[in-house]
Every structure is written in C-alpha cells, then in structure tokens.
Symmetry: D2
Subunit: 440 residues, 4 copies
C-alpha cells in the first residue's frame, strides 16, 4: 500500500559530488549501494548529467565553461537478489518524474573541442535552450512555436562489468586513442583519476584502483551504459547481461526527450529526476537469449507522432564549406548528417536560427532510419520530423504562393560574448546569390 522505497536520495540543487549513492565510473569493485528483491518496485533519485553545473538562464556561458570531468553521476549500483554472472536481468522502467524543485531541463551545444556530430563542421560555440516541463509536455522560451510530449528515458542504464570485461574495454579504447594522437574532439576517453567519484565509504586502495582503472561513462558498451536510445523509455522492458553477482545496475543521465542521433553534444533535454524500476532475473539468460548486448521491448506509451515530414540524406556531402559536393563511400554517419543538415536548412527557412534548429533536432522526438546500406557508393538515411510539434503547418502544404512565411523566433541562449558557430546555411545562401548574380 505504500509507495516504492527511494533507494538513492538526491538533491538536484546541490552538487552531485557530495551525495551518497552516486558514482561516475564503471568498476567491479564498487559494491552495491542497495539491494532489491526480484519483483520489488523501487525508486532512485538521479542528478542531471553535469551534476548541477548548468543554470536556468539566458546565456550559455555555463555550457562554455562546463567541467567535463564532473559528469555522469549515476545512481547505484543496485544489487538484484539472485542474479549471477551469465544470467540476464529484466528491468521494467515504470516511471520517470522530475523534481518539484527543478521543473525544467536543458539542451546544449558545446564548444567544438567537446564534440558533437557537427562540432567541426560548425566550429561549434556554446548554445543552450531551457525547456520548461508542462506536465507530460515541454516548451522552451528559447525555441518558440514548438511543444511536444516527453519520450522520457534514462540516457544511461547498465549492469556492472566484470574485471575481465573492464580490462578489455580499457585495452581496446586505449588502442584507438593511440591511433589518433592529439585528436580534437577526442576519439575516446581513457580512465581518468581526476574527479572519479563513488558516493560510498570505500577503503583508499579500493577507491584508488577504481579511479585508476574505472571505465568512463561516456560510451555505451556491451553492458548497456550510455546508449542514449530514446525509445528505451518509460514503459519499456530491457534485458541486461549479468557479469557480476547481483548484476549491480546503475542508472542516470535522464532525458525528458531526445531525438535519434542526439546530434549535438548534450543533445537531449537533460533533467534531474526520480526513476521507478522493477527487476527480475532470467537464469542463464545470456546464453538462452544469445545476448551480446541489451535487448528491449519498447513502450506502449511512447508519444504517437505519426504525421511526419521526411528528409533524405546520402553519403554525399552537399553542405561542404567549399560549396562542392564531396563523394563519400557507404558512410552511414555522413548520410545521417546530410539528412540532418537538409532538415536544419529547411527549418531555418521558416525563421529559426541555426542554433535553434541544432538544439531542436537534438531534443525533439525525431526518427533517423538507415534506409539502405547497399547501393554503392551511397548509404541512405532518413530523418523524420514530427509535424504536430509545431504550432504552424511546416509541411509544403503550409506554404503561401511565395513560399513559407518567415517568422521572428528570437534566438537560443548563446555566449554572453556573442560568439556563434559558423552559420553554414547563411554561407550557402550567399554563395547561391553570388552565383545567381554572376549568371545574369
């Protein structure tokens, strides 16, 4: 009759690195912070991914100055009674709610060196949108004319690695780093003792080992982790592989919403909140289910935005700074980027700024499909934009005789010094106008 117990209690307005039950490394020596029975419903408080560094403000200086060694404070680990290596743990995601003290989230574009799909192409500068949570929906004063329902999910959910698996991760990622010396943004992140955190009292030598070896939380890996899958949302049910006794799952990096690709770095609507879960164990599940990585059943309550406008993209760069089309070779990443750029250019034509569309496509529930990876040399991706999230008809049917009405939508939160990323769409328009004049 009582509510589900709260196993990790978080105050989203206080720094994460002072709070118990949080952790920002994956390491088998981190003991379970709490243990649950199978079938027991429980709740876990989660900080937002930067642990409180970003403010509800109208400039992006906090994003520009973020300390990326202090991120991904996950909640846990939570042990599950009866789970043993080789089993699978089935986790039901029953709810995610924001804190009353923080009824908002944010999407960010980070500085170029921090990464993101378009970091280099745009020479990105910090930009931000604050999203107010209006019940199950969200709106942003920084991107007017848009409202959508949350497809709320944990960006990170995973089980604890074994020492053997951890060692493999560290080895293979270091090899990659070694192949790309001085890469910016970095191609992978090695273990980093600085600001490694486990919110439990551990012997110094244990904590040192964790700090020295612990896997960084940025990428998803075989155990789940930071997969940023928007449809692993409230109402879904995920099977995680078990590598250590008790499975020791951890969760965090909650997203009120996210688009496929998460195309900016910090591309979801980041939020603090409470997640409600329930676990059961499938004995010998890794073998029975041939599991190499998590498997999940999506939710019956994902928002149902069936009316979409779809933009195609191929592995041919139509948006290169040179104004030339550059031929790629069966590159799905490039195809997806082209579909995104085509969409952004289309939306800028309605009056949104380049920063706004970059943030919007990161945050809104867009679907990016890999349509075909077979027709050499061009991979084909599609980006489906839900039309009902806009307060006007953005489809071609919504044009007047002279094209779309261009509205003034203001601007996202940008750096207080006014620095902005390259507006490649404006550059393109200029090129085209020049070419058009030259012809006359």
């Amino acid at each position: 009759m009582s509510s589900a117990p709260m196993l990790v209690t978080v105050d989203p307005l206080k720094p994460a690195a002072e709070q118990a039950g949080l952790m920002n490394r994956w390491h088998p020596d981190i003991p379970a912070f709490a243990t649950v029975k199978q079938g027991q419903m429980f709740r876990i408080g989660c900080h937002e991914w930067t642990g409180g560094q970003i403010k509800n403000s109208d400039d992006s200086d906090d994003v520009a100055n973020v300390d990326l060694t202090r991120i991904h404070y996950l909640s846990g680990p939570i042990g599950v009674e009866g789970a043993e290596p080789g089993d699978a743990v089935c986790v039901e995601i029953l709810n995610i709610e924001h804190y009353d003290s923080m009824p908002w989230g944010y999407t960010g574009v980070f500085e170029k060196e921090d990464g993101g799909l378009f970091a280099s192409r745009f020479n990105t500068k910090a930009a931000k949108a604050i999203w107010d949570f209006h019940g199950r929906f969200t709106e942003s004063r920084h991107i007017p004319g848009v409202k959508f329902a949350g497809i709320t999910h944990p960006g990170i959910i995973g089980s604890m690695c074994s020492q053997e698996l951890l060692d493999d991760w560290n080895k293979r990622e270091q090899e990659l780093i070694d192949k790309h010396p001085g890469a910016s943004p970095a191609v992978a992140l090695a273990p980093e003792p600085k600001n490694a955190y486990v919110g439990q009292d551990l012997p110094k030598e244990v904590m040192d080992k964790i700090a020295r070896e612990g896997a960084r939380t940025v990428p998803g890996r075989e155990h789940g982790g930071n997969c940023d899958i928007k449809n692993l949302s409230i109402g879904s049910r995920v099977w995680l592989p078990v590598y250590v006794p008790g499975a020791n799952i951890a969760v965090g990096d909650l997203h009120f919403s996210q688009g496929d690709l998460e195309l900016s770095f910090c591309g979801a609507i980041e939020m603090a909140g409470v997640i409600t879960l329930r676990c059961s164990v499938v004995k010998d599940g890794m073998k029975k289910l041939c599991m190499n990585q998590p498997i999940f059943q999506p939710s019956p309550i994902d928002p149902n935005y069936t009316d979409q406008l779809v933009f195609e993209g191929l592995s041919v760069d139509l948006h290169d700074a040179s104004g030339k089309t550059i031929q790629g070779s069966m590159d799905a990443t490039l195809a997806a980027k082209q579909a995104a750029l085509n969409t952004m250019e289309y939306l800028c034509n309605l009056g949104y700024t380049a920063e706004q569309v970059h943030l919007l496509l990161s945050a809104a529930p867009i679907d990016v499909h890999l349509a075909a990876l077979v027709d050499v040399p061009n991979a084909c991706a599609t980006l489906a934009l839900p039309t009902k999230i806009f307060d006007r008809d953005i489809t071609p049917n919504g044009m007047g005789p002279d094209g779309f009405e261009k509205r003034d939508y203001g601007q996202a939160a940008i750096r207080s010094d006014g620095q902005r990323a390259v507006d490649i769409f404006a550059e393109k328009r200029e090129r085209q106008e020049k070419a058009s004049k030259a012809k006359q």
Copy 2:
C-alpha cells in the same frame, strides 16, 4: 470513370531489354517516353530489377550467375507538363500491384564480389527466398513460420539529371573509384556502355552518348534514384527536384517489402508490377523548400507492427572472426551491422539457418534507428524486429524453462553445388564451447 491510362506496358515474363519505355541509365538526352498533365492519374508497368533473370525455383544458381550489367530497367521517363528546372514535382504514390502472371517475388543474397553489407564478413554465396503474394501479405516456403503485410514501394524513383549534374556525378564517383583500385566489391560503378538500354528509337549518336556518359542506376543521388527507402511506400507523397524541362521522372525496382538497411545485396522482396501515380508542380519549389534532395510525407497505410523486440548495436565489432571485440570509432555502419548480427544470432537460436535470417531481415519490415552518434567512441544503432510477423512468440516471454524450443525450419534456396557462406554464428558457438571446456 475509366481507369488511369497505362503509359508503359510491360510483360514481366519477357526480357526487359526488348521492351519499350524502359531505360537503365540516367541521362538528360533521354527524351520523355510519355507526358502527363498535372493532376492526371496514370499507371506504369515495371519489370523486376534483374529484368527477368531470377526464377521461381528452389536453388539459387540463377542468383549466382546473374548478369549485373542487365539490371534496373526503369520505366520512363515521364514528362510532367509545366515543370521547369528549379521547380519541385510532387508525386503521389497511389498504388502498386503485382502482375497476375507473376504473383511472387524474391529476396537474394548475392555472391561476395557483388556486394551487400555482409559480403566480406560472410564470404557470401548465393541464396534466395521466393515469396508468394497472398493479397496484401506474403509468405515464403523458404522461410516458414513468417507472414507479413507488404510495405510496398519503388526502390527507385527520381527525376532526370541535367548535364551539369550528371557531369558532377561522374567526376566525383570516378575519383572515389580511383582511390580504391581493385576494390571488391567495387566502391562505385563508372559509366558502362555494355548493355546500356533506352527503350525508344534514338539517333545512334544520342544513344552512344547516353551509353558513354549515362549515370548508373545503383546509388541514390540528389534527384532521388535508387534510395531503397522502405517508407517511401504506397500512400506517400514525395517532392522531387526538377533539373530538366518536364522533370522526366522514372521509376522502377519495385519492392513488395524491405527492411531498413536492405542488408543483403538484393535485400528486398523484388517484384514486377504496376505503379499508379499522380503529379503536380510547385513552381520554384527547390528554393522555396530549400531542397537539396527529395522530401516526403510517409503514408497513412504503412503496416502498423507496433509490437517489437529491439536489438542494440555499437561501433564495436563483437562478431569478428577472431573472436575478439574490435573497437571502431563512431562508425554508424558498424553499429548497424552489430545490431543486425545480434538479431540474426538470436533468430538462429530459434532454429532458422544463417541464410534464412539473412534473407528474412532483408525482406521483413524491420526498423533500424541511429540512436546516438555522440558518445565517443561508440555510435549506437538499434534494430527493431516486429514480433507479430512470426507464428510463435519470439520474445523472451516465449521461452520455456530451458530456453527457446529450437524448430526445424528447413532451409533457403541455396546453390545446387551446396556451397554456403561462412556461418559465423556456428563458429562462435564452437569457440564458446571450446572455451567453456577449457575452463573445466
């Protein structure tokens, strides 16, 4: 009151290269074979993509011996009155029906040198599944236990390129070929006079120019073309850019169904049939809609298989022949391949052969999303498998206490000499059993 006129008449049981109104190159000197008014509904017969080389039989020798210079006989071009360069043509896809004389289609895995997403990894050998069309549904004697509705679409639909655009295509693709001398499968296909075909009476010098310069039909490009987008299906509405007077659209390579990725070469259910279309023109549409490539609105009648089981994939190769996990770097193609391999391994565990699952995932309406391309070094893709297409419960709920019941599903059509691709899942099982014994 009468039916829509048939602008191209095709006999699917006769070779394509003898029939009028077909063509297998893109070139601006190909004149319109027929012209339509805006708003007029019309029908076009289409040959299947190999022009009749594949038979309804129980071996795959026809696939092994296919002549790939005789493919993609598109129907058209069809001129649209009033369309001029810079406009957009809106094409409604109103219907696609198979011929009474050919109530079946096929999916193929081609020999390694012909390509496909897994050509090298599997060292693919020809395999085939014949699909019988049962009204709006299909079933295959080569993959029992499966039935699904068609998400029927043209693999190829596009407008005619201008000479300027054609020249750009040829230049950039030749540069790519030059960078990969001797690649197998080829990275791109240069113009090829052999078997170039236009089913109209043209002066010899015009036909020679077309044969010499004409763009091959394999990849999609800015004008549309062979995009193989499964959701550009019956009921959708696509805006194509216009480069030549009349737009001169062509269409073909009909698919009764296809999965995202089209993961084998010839990965859809290839069919001959009749497509019903209707066109209108948006004056100056390329500029008004900021079109770099086609844009479309998907259909309200795509099959609604909402119940799915989803497999994750990262840019880490878990299925390498060495048995080691190989770290990639933000490679969406690799992530998608991993999701597909995880799915295949899962389905083989139910009793299907490696050939069957390869063919099935190519043909069935699977959704492949790019979940996130931001978490270095691991891109994340997901593959959503519709569960209702199977006649048993393939979700983890469908397991017994000892795992899934393994059924005998027979085999796909394979080469009559018995040669098969590498079964990497069997190899993996052997490795694992060996490792397990070594431990004891």
Copy 3:
C-alpha cells in the same frame, strides 16, 4: 506458383440475378457452390450490393427508384473441408480488389421509407456520391476537398445457419414486426419469396422452401452476416461459428470504406470486387472459445489516421425540430446520433451541404465510441473525425479571426426533380437568428 483459384466469377456490369454462385437468402438447404481445403487461398468475385442498379451519374434518381427486393447477392456458399457443427472456422481476409471494369463505388442516402439512422428526422430524399478509386485511396467529385485511404471490408461475411437457428430467427423477428404494425421504415424484414435467388440449379421444391423460409440478408445475426463492421477489413482474421457441415460461408456487400454507424442507409462506399480468403478449422471451437457470435483480430494495415477531432453526443436531443432540448434516458442510439449531428453542423459551417456531410460521415473512416453508459440519464458517445482526410485544416486551429472560411463545395448528386431532405441545420440557424433579433 499460380494465383489463387477464382471460385465465383462475377461480371459487375451484368445483373446479379443471372449469375452463378450468388444467393440472397440464408438457408441450410442451399448447398455449397464450391469447396475448399483448409489452408488453401482462394478468390471470390462479388457483385455490389444492389446487383448493378446504381450508375456512375450525377443525379440520384437510380437511388430513389431502387428495387430493394433485389439486393445483397452474396457469393457462395463455400464449403470448408472438415468443418462440422460446433467447430469454428477461422477466415483470413487477405485482399479485396475492385474490378478494372468498375473503378468506382458510391454512397447513398435513400428515401425516408427505406430507412437509415436519420430517415425520419431529415425526411430523407435520395442523394448519392460517386467515389473514384485512385489506387488505395478514393476521391469524389460530389464531395470535393476530401481524400482518404480505403479501410476495405466485406459488409457481409457469415456461415450458414442450421434449420433450428433459422427457425429461431424467423420467429423472433416476426414477433418484432407484429409489435410494430405499419412501421415505416420497417422494424425488420420477414422472409420474402419475391426475387429470392440462388445461383445454382436446385429442385423446385428446394428453391421454393428457400424462398419461403430463407432469412433476409439485411441484419447481422449470430453467424455473422451483415454486420457492417469497418474494421473487419483486409488483414483481419475472423472466427465464425459452424452450424452445418462444411460451414458454408458466404460473403458480399463489399465496402471500399465505411464510417462507424454507417449512418445513412447505403452508408458505405459500395463496390463490386474480388475478395481473397483462406480458411482453417478449430475443432469444437464454439465451446473452446465460448463463441456466441464471431470474434476477430483486426488488421495491421488499417489506415492510421491518428489525428482526429472529436465531437461528443449525449442522450439529449439538441437538434429536435422544435428547437427544444429533449431528454432521453440512457439511449446510446440517441447519443450517437447527437454526436453525428454536431459533427455535421460543424462541417456545414465550412461550406459543405447537408447532403454532402451526411454522405461523407457515412463513407469516411470515422470512429464512434460509446464512452459511458452509466451516468443517468445521459449515455455519452463520441465521434472522432480524421482530420488528415481534408485538404484544409478543419480543426479550430484552422479558423481565421472571423471563424472558418466558408467554401463552395458544390453539391452531392441529388434527385433530378430537385427534392431534398429537410436541412435541419439551416432551420436551426434561422431560429437562432430570429431569437437573436428578438432580443435586440
């Protein structure tokens, strides 16, 4: 490899009453016209429900003069091998296609005495809309501005009654007729020898018995029959109870589309065509499934018009001719009628005529739910109108500052003498304007 056999061949341009394999009565003495094996796919030609009395024309005189003793020429009966009384037959509806010779259908409002939900209230006069089939979509020159996908289904599908069941039907329906002497429209239809038809050579005494006793095809009954369920559509699978050896199913009255309620008499888009079916038998299925009536699983390919505008209706008459609100008592029929009238009035305000909206709501895929039957005295029904079938935004968002733009949509096909039904919405507007003036 061959197509499914055609068990009943129909020419839709010839009168039904001359063609073999048709029948317009339910009677156990009608023998199977053809027999199928379980699992065998087969096709059946079907005449449109009036057997060819309605023309593709621009007046409704054919509707006004229809002979209602010559309707519902069903195709069959088809015996299913192995089916015995007490079993259930599972029928898969795999496809429905129109004839090339008749690429159109129609919706009718009949004269008052023929019936329909609003026959008395509107004092209905014949009206008609011709719908052209554009592939999987339809449009009508009599109701411009509307296009929708077919949710194509047989209005009638049923198994043959036993003599015992037939006797019960005749007895109970005669009792109802006897209770309402002289009712117009009739409350039920007794057996009627005139124009009773079975397209097989039968001994005269058998045919006489059938004509004398045979159940009329108008209502649905325990065996299925004329249920007019729009979602029993292509792709669904229905279990029918079996009362006679072989089940002897019959099918007809094809509808390209229909709204819930089928609110005019002849309220669907009536069509001739070919239906593709496949049957299997569940032994002792009536008991195992507790079947009193058919059960079905709906289709994965029903059109997906999720964007809707919903109108409420209660068992209070707000549209009475007197201008007064009349209180009903928990009357779901009245509630549904009110929801329909509220919708019609709304659409008339956009410029459609009363005839057009009556026909449109009959034909388009509207959903009518019974929301609640518990809150005395008012039953509550809702009518959900798909918004995407219109070429303009009909939601309140589509209004200008002065309300909706009123367009000229022409008129439906009406009687050549110009007689029309009562326009109760015009009457209401007049009453309101009079009242408004009286106040000033």
Copy 4:
C-alpha cells in the same frame, strides 16, 4: 521557472466535505474560487469521487455501504480572465498525478439499486478491485495476470451553466423522472439539498438556492460535466462552451484508467490526484465552432495497444436468464451489452470470476465502437480488448489442443457476508450441459 501554482489544495485522506475549493453541484451562483490568466499553467488538487469513503482493503463492504449523496466533490470553479458567454474556452490537460499518500485507486461494482449497465441483469452486489499505481502502469492483487498503462483523464470537466441552462436541465430531467415513478435504479436524479456542498463562504440564502436548484453532477450535459470519456485524457485539448462570465470551469472524478462504456457503476479506476491545466479563450467560439457540446482533440500520448481481440454484439439478447434469444429493435445499448457479455464469458473461460471480468472490462482501456446502426433490426457494436495487457496469450492462438488452460486467479474483493451477483455465465453453462445430456 517555478512550478505551476496549486489553486485548490486537497488532502485525499481527509473527508472532502471539510475542504475548501470543492463543490458537488452545478449552479451559476457559485463564484469563482480562483481566477487564472489565459496561457497560465496551473494545478488543481482533486479528491477521489466518493470523497474518501472507499478503503484499500480486501472486502467490498465500503462499496456496499457508500453514501451516494456525498460524491463528486469537484474542484473549482476556476474563472478564466476574458471569457464571456458565447465564447469557447480551450483547456489543455497537461498532466494528472496521484498523491504520494494515495498510490492506489479502485474500481467498484455497486449494489443493484445504485445502477450500472448490468445492475438488473446481474442483480449486482458490491465488489471491488484495488489497483496499485506502478508509475504509469497499474496492477491489482484482486485481478492477477493483468498490467496496463493508464489512459488517465478527468471523468468530469465542464464549464458553469447559466441560470437559463440550469432551469432547462432541471425541467427536462424532472419530466423524465415523473415518467418513471419508482424506477430502480433511478432514471435521473433531481436536485437534492442533502449534502449539497460548496467549499466557500457563501451567504446562507445563496447556499440555500444552490442546494435547492443546483444540478446534480452525475450526468454529462451540454457544458461537459460527467462525460466519462476515456480519451479526454492527458495531452488532449478540449473546447468548452462558455455560459457565464469567466467560464468558471470545474474538474474532478479523476480516473487512472477506464474502458469505454464504464460498464459498472464506478467503473473506472477512481483516484485522487493533481491535474495540471492551461486555458485560452476563443472569442465568440460557440458560434464560430457551431458548438452544442464540447469538442476535443485527443492526445498523442494515449497508450498504443494496437493488438486487440474483438467481440461482436447485436441488439439480440443471447444472455437472457431464460436461455432464449430475445430480439431487440435497433438498440445500441443492447448491442454494446451483448459485446461486453460475450467478452466476459470468454474471459471467465480462462479462469477469471464473473466479478473479476466485470471489474476488469470497466477499468482496462477497451474500445467499444458502434459499428452499424442501419441494418434492421440489429444494431451492431464491437468491443476491442487489448491483448497485451495480459501476461498470457488470450487470443485463440494461445489455446492448447483442449482449449484454454483454466487458471486460478483468486477473486475480487467481495462483500464480507459472501453475497454475490448472479453468475449468468455459470447458469448458462449449466443450461447447456443439461441440454447436452438431454440429447444423449
């Protein structure tokens, strides 16, 4: 940046009749309890519909002894700035959340004299199911084997009536009562001073007038009110007619879930909670939108249970106590009841008790459509049962060779004296067995 203000504060564990901002009558003399600006998001606490009379227990004595003069304590009225008679108020339903102190709800079957669709047929006795809220999902210890997402909505939302409208309501409902003297259950409820409640300090003569004249909250009427429409749920947007300055809307009777029909009295999952709303005004909206009653746009986040098993029902009573089939005349209520009874009988065959299926169909998100109201004498209704809410396959595919496995699901909470309603399905089985023996 702050959360939405809470305009009515409710303690769900204290009696409603002591709390401010609640009311259980509709009357124009009730002043606005609070006023909001257009576009302002706000929250309102709501008591559960009996104001706290039902307990989280395992018998139904509280339901048997409920005091039905103390129900429907609505929250409000809330005035909307700028709304005037003749306008429409657009209300967005942004969220509904339960209280932490009451993480459960209940469904009830009431005693026969209290009503419900099957009150007389079953001679209903009190029964109850307690539903625990597990995030966005619910489960009941009284109906095991079932889990579903909430389609959460206010059973009651409406604007305040004018005196003129109120007088009309009272007049027409009294006339109905007068026509059915002594009816049990009552056909309608006249104004009732006993326990009339307005949680504001009002002059005695005002309160007396309200108590004497105020409309009871049981039925829905032109202004909205108790419509119990399950799809008027979180995420929908409803236009209400305005009859008094400020519109003065009130809301309550929250339902975590409900099936169409709400087929038992107290047929939803009744809950206390907080609703989040936002309002805007359409000037002269009643005329512009031809509004006779509320209009709404349904939500993009309603649960998406597309896999359904559908039961047909006709206006022929197949479940009469006599065992005879009784012919009705175009009676939609009877048709809906038959569809419900067919479904109940089917589910009892899986092992559920009659009480459990009665409660389950009331609470779960079933869809009840009126398929056709045209085929004399039989109206046709369909009941679509979502199959994915069960933890087993309840479709015919889930049967074994001898039919369904009958499981022991325990029992709902029933009266502590053990009295139960008539189990008409058991009666039917007995009749059938007797008949079957008689034949032998």
